[in-house]
Amino acid sequence: MYVAVKGGETAIRNAHALLAEERRGDPAVPELTLEQVKEQMALAVDRVMTEGSLYDRDLAALAVKQACGDLIEAVFLLRAYRTTLPRLAVSEPVDTATMDIRRRVSATYKDLPGGQVLGPTFDYTHRLLDFSLAETGHPQEKPAHGDAAAIPERMPKVVDVLDHEGLIEREIAPPEPAEATDLTRVPLDFPAGRDARLQNLARGDEGFLLALAYSSQRGFGSAHPFAGEIRMGEVAVEIVPEELGFAIEIGDITLTECDMVSQFKGSATESPKFTRGYGLSFGHCERKAMAMALVDRTLRTRELGGEALYPAQDEEFVLSHSDNVEASGFLQHLKLPHYVDFQGELVTVRHLKAEAARRRPEQAEIVP
């Protein structure tokens, strides 16, 4: 006698236990500490914070550890936790011009006030596996910190330099700052404002944005960009508590910011000038910030009077598919049982086959 498969509950419990075992790996190897993840896998932590929309290095490190290094899973963990957090305050806009700079490069000017600061970067490393890192306790070369003191307090932003000359479009804050859209509270709507677009891109999957930005560089909707400036460092976050009525600092966060500058040939109503594309990430996610800035600009194609012909220019296409937590969940839901629907399809296909055989008996397949 047939008995339907039971025991989903036990199976799930066992799966959890097996996962925990896998996560731990060989118990003879010392367990990873959150400090180690935070300090030595810092870029993974940065990416999880950025796409997870939550600046908390400890929680992000925990998510990375819990997800066994699967960063999209870690982003998901952080986002689900974020849902339960109360909103205590809304910060003032951060001023990246006052950033405590650790890295600052511009591809548009050879030299500029404040100079180029290479900072910690993979850029000029030769990608040779460094076997010395295979050993622990290997002494590291100390950076010469002599010139760190030479980094000026305040470095003007490249876009502001262009702005002084009237060469770049102005970005003027509205006189009465409206509350910015928050996609974690209200659904995305089209056409999306720039605030919603930037938030969506900031939360968006790095790989997706990278591929879109790349496609635009290869001619699928080019915006001819220049990396006006990339800067990374610490910025103070301020809030204005109602009972005080003035801004107080609540801490510093690390940000990476990218201003892409693209030429715009002008239109009937606007004179030729440079236009902006903007990228911002938590921590040091430079590739993400650059890709975001490029895509921000390609998505302005229609606004600037062009025709949106390519994926990177298509707002609905990009913004609807950028979120990896949504995408991953929906893709993986294909693992869930679909046998009711499949049964429906079976019935239909059998019926169609029989119907086809009835209509054209001479062409009916021979059933082995």
């Binding site: 849902t83 839901h333 049982p337 679909h338 629907d341």
Partner: protein, 300 residues
């Protein structure tokens, strides 16, 4: 089969979401009930379960569930499929409410892909998990355009699809997520339930709520509302039929799952609705029990 109430999980709000969020979802539900079949956008949140795995249904259930409710969760008609178990556990942990596998005892039934065979009654709420709420999505990919089509009731193109089916196959070959017109106005995706279940939606005494978490939409069919499956006058809507009865309970009126019993074409057909099947067997109904050979059938 009912599990009694327990203490809800410490450290989290009742049913996971905070009260503000629940209120905003309930506002969306009220709007959805007021405009049957219309997709109401809502501020869907990240849940601890993945998008595509029922987050819309979970948020709807979370926002309407109270301590007195009795919850049933099914996936593919069954209470013991892994995702149904997982969602039921989630609510058992975060609310402590009583859960049940009995359709008759439940006040809220969250479902994926089926409507129970046992007719629902007044006061019951059925919550559908919806992957793609837009019935026009396969005809028009753009949200900006489909919203306009709904606003102007431009639904002719759905019939173009049905026409194509008949022209090519001699019948309408959509077998699940079969589009319906609600209250004579809005075209609606019934979620991927088999078309077998479509007639149950029509003038159902229960409140039917639909949640799409990833797509951030909620829609509803209030009790006793007309739900009509699209068709042609000369090709009327029809549901699946089987040449078999359930092998376990002998039911001839239920949706059947096909179970492969060996690799030589052996099959048996059993009720997809496990509660319905169990109830019938308890009442003394018995099926033939033996696997059916499809090859023998084909020769008939």
């Amino acid at each position: 089969m009912t599990n009694a109430m327990r203490e809800p999980l410490a450290g989290y709000n009742f049913a996971y979401l905070d009260e503000q969020m629940k209120r905003s979802i309930r506002r969306a539900i009220l709007k959805a009930v007021a405009v049957p079949g219309y997709q109401v956008p809502f501020g869907s949140r990240e849940m601890p379960l993945p998008y595509g795995w029922g987050t819309g249904g979970i948020q709807v259930t979370a926002s309407i569930i109270g301590a007195e409710d009795v919850l049933k969760v099914i996936d593919q008609g069954a209470d013991d499929t892994t995702n149904a178990v997982s969602i039921r556990q989630f609510f058992a942990r975060t609310t402590g409410v009583a859960t049940t596998e009995r359709t008759a005892e439940a006040t809220i039934i969250q479902t994926r892909h089926r409507i129970p065979e046992r007719p629902l009654g007044p006061g019951q709420i059925i919550v559908y998990q919806v992957p793609i709420p837009e019935p026009l999505r396969w005809v028009e990919a753009r949200e900006t355009e489909t919203r306009k089509m709904h606003a102007l009731q431009e639904y002719g193109v759905m019939h173009v699809k049905l026409y194509e089916d008949i022209a090519r196959f001699g019948c309408i070959n959509t077998s699940y997520n079969y589009p319906v017109l609600v209250n004579g106005r809005y075209l609606m995706a019934p979620s991927p339930i088999p078309k077998f279940d479509n007639p149950k939606m029509d003038r159902n005494p229960a409140l039917q709520l639909f949640g799409a978490g990833r797509e951030k939409r909620i829609y509803a069919v209030p009790p006793f509302t007309s739900v009509k499956s699209l068709d042609f006058e000369d090709y009327p809507f029809d549901v699946q039929h089987w040449d078999h009865c359930c092998a376990l309970c002998g039911a001839a009126d239920s949706y059947l799952d096909e179970v492969v019993t060996d690799d030589r074409g052996g099959r048996m057909f059993v009720c997809s609705d496990t509660d319905y099947c169990g109830e019938r067997r308890t009442a003394g109904h018995v099926g033939a029990g033996t696997p059916v050979a499809l090859a023998a059938e084909a020769a008939e």
